[in-house]
Amino acid sequence: MKSLRVLAVLICFVSLTAFTITTDGGYDIGDVATDFSLENIDGKKVSLADYKTAKGFIVIFTCNTCPYAVAYEDRIVDLDKKYASKGYPVIAIMPNDTDVKPGDNMQAMKARAKAKGFTFPYLMDEGQKVYPQYGATKTPHVYILEKSTEGNIVKYIGAIDDNYKDAAAVKTKYAENAVDALLAGKEIEQKTTRAIGCSIKTK
């Protein structure tokens, strides 16, 4: 009888977890991420396929106007500096509707990238077609992809680290740990985390 109850609880838990994962829409861990062709701040189109020698990507949905995204700017630059040479470049995508958030328009993106010394592409999700496929809901929102013969596999979704306020006080660097694990050919310990952020702005 007792084991039956345990089983019932277990089934309940499993279905709850499954439900949680599927309600968000977008990618789960293990899915193949779509490639895209989006305009960069230099006017050129960028696709993941352009990166012939990359082992994977740190795709970050971010913007100029969200304080959480701004708080992470320097750390995003650091991620690219640390991992681009190891085969995991940062690809930043700005997903907001720029009529709703003029502070995120291409001109503002250019200015912000220049001011902060972005070393990576900062792409406009023109028409807002890419972020829903990924299932991004907010800025910043990180997707770490690993290149494989089947495509770019989603390996990590979530936060950059565990302290949006103070980089110096971070205890766990979720994104770095994930890339380190991929580089070492090991299993990522925390494949999904939650990050606070600003809702992606739509009309």
Partner: protein, 173 residues
């Protein structure tokens, strides 16, 4: 209630604040700190968003810099005004950064004469408290919880007044 009193006090002070009327040597009241904010980490916030009384609780996570939050804030104020007598309580949980408490949050509360209860939530361990607050919350703002006893609903979205009222009414019936 205390804050309301202080706001009234503040307003009455501001009315008298014309410099000409202040006699020399009078100490000006420290207007900027006429009320204190209540600041909580997740452990402190938890009991405030899990009350076990018979009231309907509407909890809104917001920040002064969050445009959709500011847009919908009057709707929460209206719910408080219209439904307080029906045992509906509104709690506004501000996620403003601490460095902006004095420069942004307090002036916002004063200028808009916010009537709902406001608490500040300051806890960096996002991966701990986001799923704890609701398993489906991806972490985007604004977000709202409506609950009464064991019945609980979470909304990761913006509301019109009509939408919000409809949800609140579900808990009243």
């Amino acid at each position: 209630m205390k804050r309301l009193l202080l706001i009234i006090l503040f307003i009455s002070f501001s009315c008298k604040e014309s410099p000409k009327e202040v006699p020399e040597g009078t100490v000006q009241p420290e207007i900027a700190s006429t009320f204190d904010l209540e600041i909580y980490n997740y452990d402190g916030l938890k009991p405030l968003i899990n009350k076990t009384d018979d009231k309907v609780h509407v909890v809104n996570f917001w920040a002064t810099w969050c445009a959709p939050c500011i847009k919908e804030l009057p709707h929460f104020e209206k719910v408080k005004a219209e439904y307080e007598a029906k045992d509906v309580e509104v709690l506004l949980v501000s996620l403003d950064f601490p460095r902006q408490y004095e420069t942004k949050l307090k002036p916002f509360i004063e200028e808009n004469q916010i009537q709902s209860e406001i608490v500040c939530f300051d806890d960096v361990d996002q991966n701990r408290w986001i799923p704890a607050i609701d398993s489906t919350w991806s972490g985007a703002l604004p977000a709202t919880i409506i609950y009464k006893g064991n019945k609980r609903q979470f909304y990761e979205k913006s509301f019109t007044y009509e939408e919000l009222e409809k949800e609140v009414q579900q808990f009243l019936n």
